[in-house]
Amino acid sequence: MNESIKTPSVTDEASTPQMKTKCEHHAECMKVIQAILDDQATEAEKDHFRENIDKCIPCIESYNLEKCIKTSLADKIAKKPCPKNILNTIISKINS
């Protein structure tokens, strides 16, 4: 994650009157948001994101939701260690 991009907050910004409540190119925005969250955005996408994210409520909400899902996937799903017997089988087959 690019830490320099700060997470916008809906509550902080909602009071600003000029914020958009509808996004006319949301599909395009979702692609940029996805690339930003995956840390795969181009410089142009990053610039576009920085300049526009705090102006559009649907995009802020989408960003927060996508980020939350991504974090949940990474942190909440249990990871199992590989069973020891598999490890032993692999090693013994390779050594034989």
Binding site: A27, Q34, D38, E66, K76, A78, P81, C82, I94, N95
Partner: protein
């Protein structure tokens, strides 16, 4: 840590020595990630065990085609994914045997992927979900969509690495991820709803 063959003093000209060294240093550290990937693909412990074992034995057999200094984890994931498609998918116990082509056709239309597609789901509702619910939502996705989410969000591969692992162009990685996430949101929403977040 169990290692393959005792490491004799470095003799880099010795091919056998080098093979074991690469195997221990580059491949073994990824075994837990590989096991979890196998388990999420097959959804079956025995199949996951076999798949990991087969993959590591193949990796050892073809170790000469691994270029040192390149990403060993991506190389191993690619072998595992190919073994899964070739050997396990056919006998998969997965009930919803949805072929990717079929799913792709359904979701591939520009309308399906590019219109404003919103699922009524809130971030705070997702935050409340427990690990099992998130895992179940993920497991409910067709395997190709599940795979891109595992690779990207759980394993942290770049789009470029995913393209290599899956043998698809980067553009397809992006669009498949996009669709996978939309499907996942639908699944997550059903869990969130049962918790009273359904407004």
């Amino acid at each position: 840590m169990i290692v393959a063959m005792s490491e004799t003093p470095a003799k880099n000209d010795n091919t056998d020595d080098l093979r074991y060294k690469i195997f221990n240093r580059e491949f073994m550290p990824h075994i837990d990630s590989m096991y979890n990937f196998a388990f999420r693909l097959t959804m079956d412990e025995d199949d996951a065990n076999d798949l990991v074992q087969d993959t590591y034995l193949k990796a050892f057999r073809f170790i000469k085609s691994f270029e040192q200094g390149t990403n060993a984890k991506a190389w191993l994931f690619r072998i595992l994914k190919n073994s899964f498609i070739n050997d396990y998918r056919k006998k998969s116990k997965e009930p919803s045997k949805v072929d990717y082509q079929e799913v792709e056709t359904t979701y591939n239309s520009e309308e399906a992927s590019d219109t404003t597609y919103t699922v009524d789901l809130r971030a705070d509702a997702v935050q409340e979900l427990i690990g099992d619910e998130v895992a179940n939502a993920l497991n409910a996705l067709p395997v190709d969509f599940r795979t891109v989410i595992i690779l990207c969000d759980i394993e942290g591969f770049t789009y470029e690495e995913m393209a290599k692992i899956l043998d698809i162009p980067i553009g397809t990685v992006r669009s498949r991820l996009h669709r996978a996430r939309n499907l996942l949101k639908e699944k997550l929403r059903s869990y969130a709803s049962t918790m009273g977040y359904d407004s």
